[in-house]
């Protein structure tokens, strides 16, 4: 099992445990409400309830339907649970953005359908772990999109629920074991009991008072409805065009990186931009091309006479090659896999800056001290031993793995967008919003909170037509087969919130321009229809071929 899989397994188990805890608390709260005569009878909530519709194929962590005695109304409840693992510094983790976008669009899509069905419902969200682990807008966006969004810190602040739950549930093999242990924890005095009881009381109070549905969430769901209805007549042709395969731009670029050549001029131009944007790829290819020469060159710079601190400092900041040496330094002190290499617990050192930024002298010192301690602890005490590690076959493998990661990971390599720009630029230049004289695409969720900062979307551009007139907003992205539904969810939220603005209490169209999603995908891929419809319902027009894109732009 590789590092990524191990990390994911641990995260999956953590999520599983927390979901069971929520399930347990919901069940207890419903039992209490039934005892008090608020609801007709207690039910055991369902877990992992599938919700399928024309634009959805989602799984909700919790579902139950109960009858309130006073009003005689039957209400169904759908819930999601999210875990944030946190870090020692309590700083925001940029990578959680994908997940929140998916969670929000799922809830809004479900809402659109439940509203249409005229059923009485509420949609809930439970967040476990430190709220400061994510950007500050998350909390406000959840509050605006669910009927109830609850954070674990609202129950008991700073309580480490994950460690306590892992201790309680260690070695459980079945749900039966888990339920038994949770019941024991619920009945015997402990910090966990206080947490559980507090949680049950919160749920009981909320369900017992049953606040009105969230009007702001309803309004968002209605935009999805409007967009879907206005595009419904085009759906058949969009789906048809998705079945002839994609351009596989990303695949062709990766091929060209390996081969060092291409006959497509747009690929060559794209490649140049990829290299300019990611120095690691060309540096790593050069180093791997002659690994022993690279090793000799490093060895000459890091002399045996240097003390270990000076050697680490040199390697961390070595000109041209630090994108390689840093990747090695963060891993080589341990013979085991390093799960979260960017978790140095030093401010401003994040996954996004780790390999690319020259830090200030103060931060640099902290980084060097951090690694000095790590290498000392591992019994590596001089420059000579460190050099041995740097030029080892394991080091080479780390560079190979990193290269593989960077050429396949969508967030570090964006050839699809570059290619589209290159292919259109003769007739339809793509420019920034600023250059087009348009307001920046800051998602409408920025308006949900007066204190939270929301950055504008970085990967959207404006297409200019004749006389430099803006005619469309565009994004181009590579969609891999297994990730297609997830990517569509994520981009649906981007489209929806960029296309619309919230003015006062009204959602209005921000640009009155079509939003085009150029879907770069494999030539043999047929995307799931619901994922395409999801993009359409969120305001996107998916296009799969450069020629179709040009034809469409001609009509604007």
């Amino acid at each position: 099992m590789n590092v990524k899989e191990k990390v994911q397994q641990h995260a999956a188990l953590r999520n599983d445990y927390i979901e069971m805890l929520v399930d347990f608390a919901l069940r207890k709260a419903l039992e209490k409400l039934a005892e008090k005569g608020v609801i007709s009878k207690a039910v055991w909530p369902e877990r992992h309830k599938e919700f399928k519709a024309v634009d959805a194929s989602d799984v909700f962590d919790h579902y139950f339907r109960i009858k309130f005695i006073k009003t005689a109304h039957e209400v169904e409840f759908w819930g999601q649970t999210t875990c944030y693992k946190g870090n020692e510094l309590g700083v925001a983790e940029a990578n959680k953005t994908y997940e929140i976008r998916e969670t929000l669009i799922e809830a809004l899509t479900l809402r659109r359908h439940l509203l249409a069905s005229k059923k009485e419902f509420r949609i809930l969200h439970f967040t476990f772990g430190p709220s400061e682990y994510t950007y500050s807008w998350f909390e406000a966006a959840k509050t605006a999109s669910f009927d109830w969004s609850m954070y674990s810190a609202d129950i008991v602040d700073k309580y480490d629920i994950f460690s306590n739950l892992f201790t309680l549930l260690a070695g459980t093999g079945s749900e039966l074991d888990v339920q038994k242990r949770l019941q024991i924890a619920f009945s015997s005095p402990s910090g966990l009991r206080d947490f559980l009881v507090g949680f049950v009381v919160k749920i009981e109070e909320w369900l017992g008072s049953l606040p009105e549905k969230n009007a702001l969430a309803d309004k968002q769901a209605k935009i999805l409805n409007t967009e879907y209805s206005s595009a419904e007549s085009k759906l058949a042709s969009i789906i048809k065009s998705s079945k002839v395969g994609g351009e596989n731009i990303k695949g062709r670029v990766i091929q060209a990186i390996t081969a060092g050549k291409s006959s497509d001029p747009h690929i060559i131009a794209t490649l140049k931009r990829v290299y300019d944007g990611n120095g690691f790829i060309s540096t790593a290819l050069k180093a791997l091309n002659d690994w022993s020469a690279w090793g000799n060159q490093i060895s000459r710079k890091v002399t045996n006479e240097l003390d270990l601190r000076a050697a680490i400092d040199l390697l961390w900041n070595i000109s041209d090659d630090f994108c390689i040496t840093r990747r090695l330094l963060v891993r080589l002190f341990s013979s085991q896999s390093v799960h979260y290499p960017a978790d140095l617990n030093i401010r401003t050192v994040t996954e996004h800056t780790l390999y690319t930024v020259m830090y200030t002298p103060e931060i640099n010192d902290q980084v060097i001290d951090y690694f000095l301690a790590k290498y000392h602890a591992a019994g590596i005490r001089d420059a000579k031993t460190l050099k041995g590690l740097l030029t080892s076959s394991r080091a080479k493998q780390i560079v190979v793995d990193a290269l593989q990661h960077d050429t396949s990971n969508g967030t570090t390599l964006k050839p699809s967008f570059y290619y589209v720009e290159e292919a259109l630029k003769d007739k339809f230049p793509l420019v920034s919003f600023e250059a087009a004289g348009l307001p920046l695409p800051v998602g409408y969720h920025s308006k949900f909170s007066s204190i939270a900062t929301v950055q504008s979307y970085g990967n959207l551009k404006v297409v200019l037509g004749r006389h430099g007139r803006p005619i469309a907003v565009i994004k181009a992205k590579y969609f891999r087969k297994p990730e297609f539904p997830r990517r569509a969810k994520e981009e649906a939220y981007v489209g929806l919130t960029a296309k619309y603005d919230l003015k006062g209490s009204k959602f209005t169209s921000r640009y009155n321009l079509p939003f085009i999603m150029f879907v770069d995908m494999d030539v043999t891929l047929t995307p799931p229809e619901f994922a395409l419809v999801r993009l359409v319902a969120a305001g996107w027009l998916p296009v799969f071929k450069i020629s179709d894109l040009r034809d469409y732009l001609q009509t604007l």
Binding site: E5, V7, Q8, Q9, A11, A12, L13, N15, D16, M20, V43, W44, E46, R47, H48, E50, K52, S57, D58, V59, Q80, N95, K96, Y98, E99, E102, T103, E106, T172, G173, S174, E175, L176, D177, V178, Q179, P485, R486, K489, P528
Partner: protein, 278 residues
């Protein structure tokens, strides 16, 4: 591959004509699924020929054509994509997959004896023994039969009559968990549960791999010596893997392939089902 399909469909009872085989017969032979189902067909035919009556428990289910080829394995979420929310990408609904995991593919009766045939797993063994293991025998023969299976909301309840003395009961909760989603079982304590035997169908395994697999079955199902396991190979293996036989999959002769499969079915019968009853 078409020949193997023809042979298997010739051997299966008529009810199997409606099974949705998906792409099982089109996959490369090394995938093993087609060979495994061919052996099921041959064993069924030999048991029918020797006086056993068969029953297809899934026959009462509307979804039977789709569910038949699913493994008898309780759906367990092995790996979530952390950092992403879940997407339902299964064409068969989760509750149907739970039901299918518990229902034997075939049940055979003769002179008061009852046994059930499972494919690539047997939830009753896992639940009753409390063992968690990764191995999945291609075919598993368990004494007894499923007598009740019901879905009540998110709960699936079952009763499996293992013997006159032992009734296995339980409730599973339909969910996509990494843990066994069992919420109730009878008997409540973990017990030893004997299986009649397991069959490993190997298209092209090396002796070392096959032998390791057979050793794995011996450990999990507590077989001693030569009992309990039967290996059928599509290639010649010279190693001590207990009882075994060979089916020539390179043949282009349909009747030859059918006889070879039937001979393998007969060997399984003689070794695992009715030792010594010729």
């Amino acid at each position: 591959m078409m020949l193997l399909k023809q042979a298997a469909l010739q051997l299966f009872p008529p009810e199997f004509a409606s099974v949705d085989w998906r792409d099982i017969w089109e996959r490369p032979l090394q995938d093993g699924t087609a060979f495994q189902w061919s052996i099921v067909a041959a064993l069924t035919r030999r048991l029918m020929d020797t006086g056993w009556k068969y029953k297809i428990p899934l026959i009462d289910f509307e979804q039977q054509p789709v569910l038949m080829t699913l493994r008898n394995e309780i759906p367990i979420a092995h790996l979530a994509q952390a950092g992403h929310s879940a997407t339902s990408d299964q064409s068969v609904a989760l509750d149907d997959r739970f039901m299918a995991s518990l229902i034997p593919k075939l049940t055979f009766t003769k002179d008061g004896k009852v046994l059930s045939l499972f494919i690539e797993g047997c939830p009753y063994h896992i639940i009753a023994t409390g063992q968690r293991y990764e191995i999945r025998p291609d075919i598993l023969l368990l004494p007894g039969q499923l007598t009740t299976i019901n879905k009540q909301g998110q709960m699936v309840e079952y009763q499996y009559a293992y013997s006159n003395e032992l009734q296995l009961e339980g409730v599973l909760r339909v969910s996509s968990s990494r843990l066994l989603p069992l919420v109730q079982k009878t008997p409540p304590q973990d017990i030893a549960l004997s299986v009649l035997g397991v069959v490993e169908c190997s298209v092209n395994k090396s002796a070392r791999v096959a032998s390791k697999q057979i050793d794995g079955y011996r450990a999990v199902f507590q077989f001693t010596g030569d009992e309990g396991t039967f290996l059928i190979t599509g290639n010649e293996i010279t190693a001590d893997c207990g009882s075994m036989t060979h089916v020539d999959l390179t043949t282009t002769n349909l009747s030859g392939l059918v006889s070879s499969l039937l001979e393998a079915g007969e060997q399984i019968r003689l070794h695992l089902v009715e030792p010594g009853v010729v």
